[in-house]
């Protein structure tokens, strides 16, 4: 049976792992390949690097850490942040990434999704969608979410559910759904948003934004219909281990890959 995945996300700036709340107050957390290897050992099912470097000339640094990571952590690696063209995606895959996540650039030009999918296969194309809940207006009874880009700083006017369906039609092999309202708050995943999307698409959905503890991972899968759950700070700060999260998921009857304890 296919396992539900637990995915640590590493925010990377200038070749280092950083932590902070929505791109501010960044603190250096170490060498990406080193942390990646540690997470792989501790039972991570995949890894995501989110490149949040602002400088335009950071490509070489990013490709270098992707390559060094691929040499040490023998689990799948997704790289997101700033990929705007088919050629940039090719370079990231050649450096050793398995998938690339497209966000702002895909909103700006949706054909980027289909062009990348036809060149590299849809399994290599993750579309990341940041959604913000909208206030109910008039006689509206169903909740809705707007797509925001540039780390939540810019509204697009796009409906997140409609955009998710369109992204899959265009060739997305997976969707990474982040609730901007919950991200960094520790108030749990937005399971309503996840459910609306996972019930409408046939591709795997990765939940992101809001994890505080193991129970949130369980509800992202059980209530949100997520196939995989991503979190950053609770793992970096060692608030919860990957093993503890997986134990809670297993206890709730969810299929997970349990990694035998490895002597340090």
């Amino acid at each position: 049976m296919l396992r539900r995945r637990v995915i640590p996300c590493l925010d990377v700036a200038d070749g280092r792992v950083v932590k902070g709340t929505r791109f501010v107050d960044l603190v250096d957390e170490g060498d990406p390949p080193e942390l990646a290897e540690r997470y792989a050992r501790e039972g991570a099912d995949e890894l995501v690097f989110l490149d949040i470097t602002a400088a335009p000339d950071h490509r070489a640094t990013l490709l270098d850490i992707v390559e060094r990571t691929a040499r040490r952590a023998f689990i799948p690696l997704t790289v997101g942040g700033g990929v705007r063209t088919v050629l940039e995606m090719r370079d990231v895959l050649r450096a050793g990434a398995d998938k690339v996540s497209l966000n702002t650039a895909a909103v700006a030009d949706p054909t980027l999704i289909s062009r990348c999918a036809s060149r590299f296969g849809r399994q290599a194309v993750v579309v990341a969608i940041d959604g913000r809940g909208q206030p109910l207006v008039d006689d509206q009874t169903e909740p809705s979410w707007e797509v925001v880009v540039k780390g939540g700083r810019e509204a697009t006017g796009l409906d997140a559910i409609a955009w998710a369906e369109r992204a899959v039609d265009l060739g997305a092999g997976e969707l990474l759904i982040t609730s901007i309202d919950r991200d960094g708050t520790g108030s749990g995943f937005d399971t309503a948003l996840l459910r609306e999307i996972s019930s409408r698409v046939g591709v795997p959905v990765i939940a992101s934004g809001g994890a505080a503890g193991p129970a949130d991972f369980v509800s992202a899968v059980r209530d949100g219909g997520a196939d995989a759950v991503l979190a950053a700070s609770i793992f970096h700060r060692r608030i919860h281990s990957i093993a503890a999260v997986k134990a809670a998921m297993a206890a709730a009857g969810l299929p997970v890959r349990l990694v035998p304890e490895v002597a340090a």
Binding site: M1, R122, E174, V203, A228
Partner: protein, 221 residues
């Protein structure tokens, strides 16, 4: 095992299918000397061939043809030389693919078909690989171990003899085959953590043992 030195020479076929770093690095890690193979001529002097790759069959076959690799690979396998096909490298062994109607290498009878009744596609993630018989490539790996998959199609052999392992996503599909020195796996050993590395180490060991046997047969010390 040492990462360099006298390990068997294993050629990884490069036909422009993206990430080769993972498989090169994983094979090196378990003691192989890895050579990237750009064309059919480069198959000489190798102890084994690995064909990786993800994606659709037709563009892959077109690239293999362009690089002059189709006949050399067919000859290689016909002479029962060690071959490991991973994901697309397994699917290409069959007669053809339903994904785009491509004619493939025709080494194993059967076709590559879409996964049926799958709750999600692509099938992405860790899933159990259950053996239908024993094979030394799986030594030290628990039956039913979780290994990493990423695909929407899988080979459906028309004969059962080659089937080595099954996995279920919706319905059961063939996740490993073997025939003589030929191995094919639908999962990605280079992305399957310690069990994946164990599988590749077993493969490298089998290649090294076979190379020794071949040298003995030729009377070379």
């Amino acid at each position: 095992m040492s990462p360099s030195g006298g390990g068997p020479r294993i050629g990884v076929v490069d036909y422009g299918a993206g990430n080769l770093v993972s498989i090169e690095q994983a094979l090196t890690q378990v003691g192989a000397r890895v050579v990237v193979i750009p064309d059919g001529d480069a198959l000489r002097d190798l102890d084994a061939v690995v064909v990786p790759g993800v994606g659709a069959a037709a563009p892959a076959m077109a690239r293999l043809a362009r690089h002059g690799l189709i006949e050399p690979l067919q000859d290689w396998i016909a002479h029962d030389r060690p071959y490991l096909g991973i994901c697309l490298g397994l699917q290409l062994l069959f007669d053809g693919s339903d994904e785009d109607g491509a004619t493939t290498l025709g080494i194993l009878p059967g076709r590559t078909v879409r996964l049926e009744d799958a709750p999600t596609l692509p099938h992405i993630g860790w899933n159990q690989v259950v053996r239908t018989r024993e094979h030394p490539a799986f030594d030290g790996i628990a039956d039913g171990a979780d290994l990493y998959f990423v695909h929407s199609y899988a080979g459906a052999p028309s004969e059962d003899e080659a089937v080595l392992a099954m996995t279920t996503h919706g319905r059961p599909f063939v996740s490993a085959v073997s025939r003589g020195a030929l191995l094919g796996v639908q999962f990605h050993p280079e992305r399957s953590g310690t069990d994946g590395l164990r599988f590749l180490a077993n493969f490298v060991e089998l290649v090294a043992a076979g190379r020794g046997a071949a040298r003995l047969a030729r009377g070379v010390a």
